[in-house]
Subunit: 79 residues, 2 copies
């Protein structure tokens, strides 16, 4: 069954306290090579038949993300 990945990420201008917390912990653990961390949501949807991009984008932007503060990245199966 085709899998569609939807990644929901905070818009760049929105502060990301969770990402900041991870970044701080990385520094304390000696991982100094990481400059920034942004945390978002990762959805894997199994769909019937050929994925309908328009419908999936509508699902992503209305149900999976808050378009005011989040951007959506749709990854359709490449095969």
């Amino acid at each position: 069954m085709p899998q569609v990945v939807v990644d929901v990420v905070l818009k760049p201008e929105i502060s990301d306290p969770q990402g900041q917390a991870v970044l701080g912990a990385l520094g304390r653990l000696g991982h100094s090579g990481v400059r920034s961390v942004r945390q978002g949501k990762h959805f894997v949807l199994e769909v019937d038949g050929d994925p309908d991009e328009a419908e999936l984008r509508e699902i992503a932007e209305t149900l999976l993300a808050n378009p005011v503060i989040e951007d959506v990245e749709l990854h359709l199966p490449t095969d």
Copy 2:
């Protein structure tokens, strides 16, 4: 600056109530073509210089995920 994506997903055998909730809502909204939904975490790390895969996998498996119930997918920059 190189970006590394880390996706953290629940192991298949672990139940996913959040994903189930989304699936239920999709059905009620008339999106019947979606068979399953799994929700996870999506991290975007900006790193200095060439990403060190071993270090990044250690970061992912110790700080970003709970290896008992979660699997990690590392996406290194392809350029």
